[in-house]
């Protein structure tokens, strides 16, 4: 499912044009993005919690070149699906690509 699909459904549900729905959606994702990027965490009911975690720096090994690398610390987006969502989707069959 792509953004355009989501926008189409939203536009239909709320009786707005696609452009309006897309704009609204953009604002929502923009707000999410800003909050995540600034390190805030927030939870959306029935979807999950967004936040950030920091991966520690570590050493890695490239077996091809037999080289060790030092990898710097990294901050990544952390998403924890809500319990309901998790349970609902646990047993759904996925169409493998």
């Amino acid at each position: 499912m792509n953004t355009s699909d989501v926008v189409a459904i939203l536009a239909e549900n709320w009786d707005m044009t696609h452009a309006e729905a897309r704009d609204f959606l953009n604002v929502i994702t923009q707000t999410f993005t800003e909050n995540i990027a600034s390190g805030n965490s927030f939870s959306i009911p029935e979807l999950g919690t967004f936040g950030t975690t920091t991966r520690k720096k570590r050493k890695s090994y490239n077996p091809h070149y037999e080289q060790y690398m030092k990898l710097p610390p990294k901050r990544v987006v952390d998403f924890n699906p809500s319990k309901g969502l998790k349970e609902d989707l646990k047993q759904v069959d996925i169409d493998d690509e």
Binding site: M1, N2, T3, D5, V6, I9, L10, N13, W14, D23, F24, V27, I28, T29, Q30, T33, N35, I36, A37, G39, N40, S41, F42, I44, P45, E46, L47, G48, F50, G51, T52, K57, K59, S60, Y61, P63, Y65, E66, Q67, Y68, M69, K70, L71, P72, P73, K74, R75, V76, V77, F79, P81, L85, K86, D88, L89, K90, Q91, V92, I94, D95
Partner: protein
């Protein structure tokens, strides 16, 4: 950071921006979430452009155990929801660490770490090694591309290794921020032509901000030097007045002796005899000298002041001279008094602080001798420190001479002590100015020198004095954490000035680390106060130390860092 934002606040901010009601926003968002859930259920992934991708991932059945009951259980196969952020979001989130890049660990260290971190890498890595060796045996012949890649990689690693091995291999745990060199060149070609021009013109000393710096100095000096010039003029005027007022006092004698001694030091041997001979015929009566001594006694403090005034050009040296005078006073006064008393059979061995009105000429000899000795010693040291760059003060010695027996005797007695002094002084003259300052401060602290700031001085001029290279001024700044504005230092406060530990003003590795730290300190200040100049300081810091990230205790701006990396 890491603040918890409630759903209500989120709705509020979205509603504000879209100018819809909160209720509508809430319902809309809820619908959006429902669509995501529906989409996930439908085909396992929902792609929201500009934000991320929600996806279902299959997790196979696996063994696990309940940590509470410690029972083995089988976790059934299931799906899990995964959110994969878009690149924009990933980069935004990782912004604090974005300047760090993976760093290759070199061969020697690799061996150490394979042994030390054997536990960490453990079986997985070793298996990987084994499989790798087998693989490479199979693959190496077939794949040309891989060979090319390897060759490239080796080139890269070769280019990486000398960088860090040239410089200190300090704390290789941290990450040298290295951007790909090609992109650097492109960048520098494209957007830094002006800077490049600056750099090219200043290849000898690649400080692209020299011009800015000098203009800064000009500004700061212009503000400070106007007053300081006035003060210097005043000082000179004072000196003249002093001389006029106390022209008959011992001070002139002293100056003469200092001058003569300086000549001696210049011409080593022959002229000191002449100087002594010159003073011989012009002998004054002891009584007269006693009168002078009264004057000088009262103006002894003034003498000191005046000396400072004459040496205001070299304020810092004056301080050293004073210290040396004190030590010389302690050491030589005793000797002098003893020898004088023996020679002259002094009748009044009273301490020089008490001044009986009926003191005899012999006591005046002693006191005069002591004072003259002190000042000569001070002058000698002063001369030794000035010998490289100053001849103006010597000219002041060419004044009418009115010498006394006492002074003459002192002078002859001086020869002995001077000889020993001179040998030391000649050594210091032979070496450079920096070693001279080192010698004078070597007693107290080998690395740092405490310097009192005088009016008109700048960090720039201090660095020029100390290192012969004014551009090292951030070293001083970095060594004094109390300083705020690097363009603003206050007269009267004291600075701890680091001295180069290498000979001939060369910087040792620890010195260059200190210099780099200084530049980072100035970078930090300029970053928060004068953004445009900051990157130049970082650039300069990069010249002195490779691993800026390790030196800096604050994250360095990415663009500044990439600019600085061009220094390599």
């Amino acid at each position: 950071m890491s603040e918890k934002v409630t759903f209500g606040e989120l709705i509020e901010s979205i509603a504000e921006e879209t100018e819809h009601s909160k209720q509508f926003t809430h319902d809309f968002l809820k619908d959006f979430v429902d669509i995501i859930n529906g989409g996930l259920e439908e085909d396992g992934k929902v792609n929201i452009a500009g934000f991320g991708k929600f996806e279902l991932q299959r997790v196979d059945e696996r063994e696990g155990y309940n940590p509470q009951t410690e029972e083995k259980i089988t976790i059934p196969a299931h799906n899990k929801v995964v959110f994969k952020p878009y690149k924009d979001l990933r980069e935004l989130v990782n912004a604090p660490y974005a300047h760090m890049e993976p760093q290759l660990i070199e061969e020697e260290e690799k061996e150490e770490e394979t042994t030390s971190n054997a536990e960490d890498h453990s079986s997985a890595d070793h298996q990987a090694v084994d499989s790798q060796t087998e693989k490479s045996a199979i693959d190496s012949s077939s794949s040309i591309d891989e060979d090319n890649k390897q060759a490239q990689k080796e080139q890269k690693s070769e280019s990486d290794i000398p960088e860090s091995s040239e410089e200190q291999k300090l704390n290789e745990d941290d990450f040298i921020p290295t951007a790909p060199p090609t992109s650097h060149q492109q960048d520098s070609d494209e957007d830094k032509t002006s800077d490049k021009n600056q750099i090219e013109t200043e290849e000898d000393f690649p400080f692209s901000f020299e011009a800015q710096q000098e203009s800064d100095e000009d500004i700061s000096e212009a503000s400070a030097s106007e007053s300081s010039d006035d003060i210097e003029d005043d000082d000179n005027g004072d000196i003249v007045e002093f001389r006029a007022a106390a022209s008959d006092t011992e001070d002139d004698l002293l100056e003469e002796f200092i001058g003569s001694e300086e000549k001696e030091q210049q011409d080593e041997t022959s002229e000191d005899i002449e100087a002594v001979e010159e003073t011989e015929p012009e002998t004054n009566e002891p009584q007269e000298f006693e009168d002078k001594l009264d004057e000088t006694g009262s103006s002894e403090e003034e003498d000191d002041e005046e000396k400072e005034a004459t040496k205001s050009e070299e304020e810092v040296l004056a301080e050293e001279v004073e210290k040396l005078e004190e030590t010389a006073q302690d050491l030589k006064q005793d000797q002098q008094e003893q020898s004088d008393l023996e020679d002259k059979n002094s009748q009044y061995p009273t301490p020089p602080t008490s001044r009986p009105s009926d003191r005899s000429s012999s006591f005046s000899y002693v006191a005069a001798a002591a004072i003259v000795l002190l000042l000569i010693a001070g002058g000698a040291w002063y001369y030794s420190t000035l010998s490289t760059n100053d001849t103006t003060l010597i000219s002041s010695s060419e004044e009418p001479t009115t010498s006394t027996d006492a002074a003459q005797e002192v002078n002859t007695q001086q020869q002995e002590t001077e000889d020993s002094q001179e040998s030391a002084q000649n050594q210091s003259q032979a070496s450079t100015q920096s070693s001279a300052t080192q010698q004078s401060t070597g007693n107290t602290a080998p690395d740092n020198q405490s310097v009192e700031i005088e009016e008109g001085q700048t960090l720039w001029s201090l660095a020029e004095d100390r290192y012969g290279n004014p551009r090292l001024w951030p070293w001083i700044y970095g060594n004094n954490g109390s300083l705020e504005d690097p363009d603003l230092i206050y007269a009267g406060s004291s600075l701890s000035v680091p001295l180069p530990s290498g000979p001939q003003n060369t910087l040792t590795s620890t010195d260059s680390v200190g210099v780099a730290k200084g530049f980072i300190a100035t970078y930090k200040w300029y970053k928060s106060n004068e953004q445009s100049k900051a990157k130049n300081h970082l650039w300069a810091a990069k010249l002195y130390h490779d691993d800026l990230q390790q030196l800096a205790d604050v994250p360095i701006d990415k663009t500044d860092l990439s600019y600085a990396n061009k220094a390599r």
